[in-house]
Symmetry: C2
Subunit: 129 residues, 2 copies
């Protein structure tokens, strides 16, 4: 497998875990020191415990929609470092129970430690109005 395909496999495994709401699998390939810039507030979340909380928030919105899909993704990778960026699709429900679905931007940074790829940074966003 090329390094690019190794990284695509990590991303695919993670998005599948999100669709399945399997939090242990979501966290599986993450660095304990991950820095997350999530789509909603807070401004940033540092460390795996804060990262985990961002998924509690996401699942409280997604309401088992099962939608968390890569639309397009570029991967730049070598043997030790990688980053990828592209567009994602997700769906959930507003507080009023209205269906919501939209496309957002995602950038991921990965490092290889002891032979294993770890996600050490994620940046999810929508353009500001």
């Amino acid at each position: 497998m090329t390094t690019e395909n190794q990284v695509r496999a990590i991303v695919d495994e993670w998005t599948l875990a999100v669709r399945n709401e399997d939090l242990n699998a979501v966290l599986k390939n993450h660095d304990p020191a991950i820095v997350m810039f999530d789509l909603p507030y807070p401004l940033q979340s540092k460390g795996i415990d804060e990262y985990k909380k961002t998924w509690d928030l996401f699942f409280s919105w997604s309401k088992h929609s099962g939608v968390f899909d890569v639309v397009e993704m570029e991967v730049m990778a070598n043997e030790q470092l990688a980053f990828c960026y592209g567009l994602m699709r997700c769906a959930g429900k507003s507080k009023e129970g209205k269906n919501e679905e939209f496309t957002f931007r995602l950038t991921i940074g990965l490092v290889k430690k002891d032979g294993q790829w770890l996600i050490c940074h994620e940046h999810h966003s929508l353009p500001a109005p």
Copy 2:
């Protein structure tokens, strides 16, 4: 100079160019195929011509504030690839002429081509309300 310091120098040169509103210098270390996720719309800007337009928009808002500063920045780099992420500060004026200043999130991806670091991806954002 370590690869990390090479990347920090590229980022410092770029932020200085933004503060000076020197568009040629802003574009200097960018890949022609850069993909930009800017703070405001559009969702994405592909290629150096579209990237350039995002700065026209920024300068029409920043009104010579001279504020475009790194607050904190982590850099992961090896000989061929690098990415960095952190918080930035910028200032400008609303359409009504009111001073605006805020902290935003920034992730940058770089590749080394023919011995030169090039920025091939930028992701600027605020958390969604």
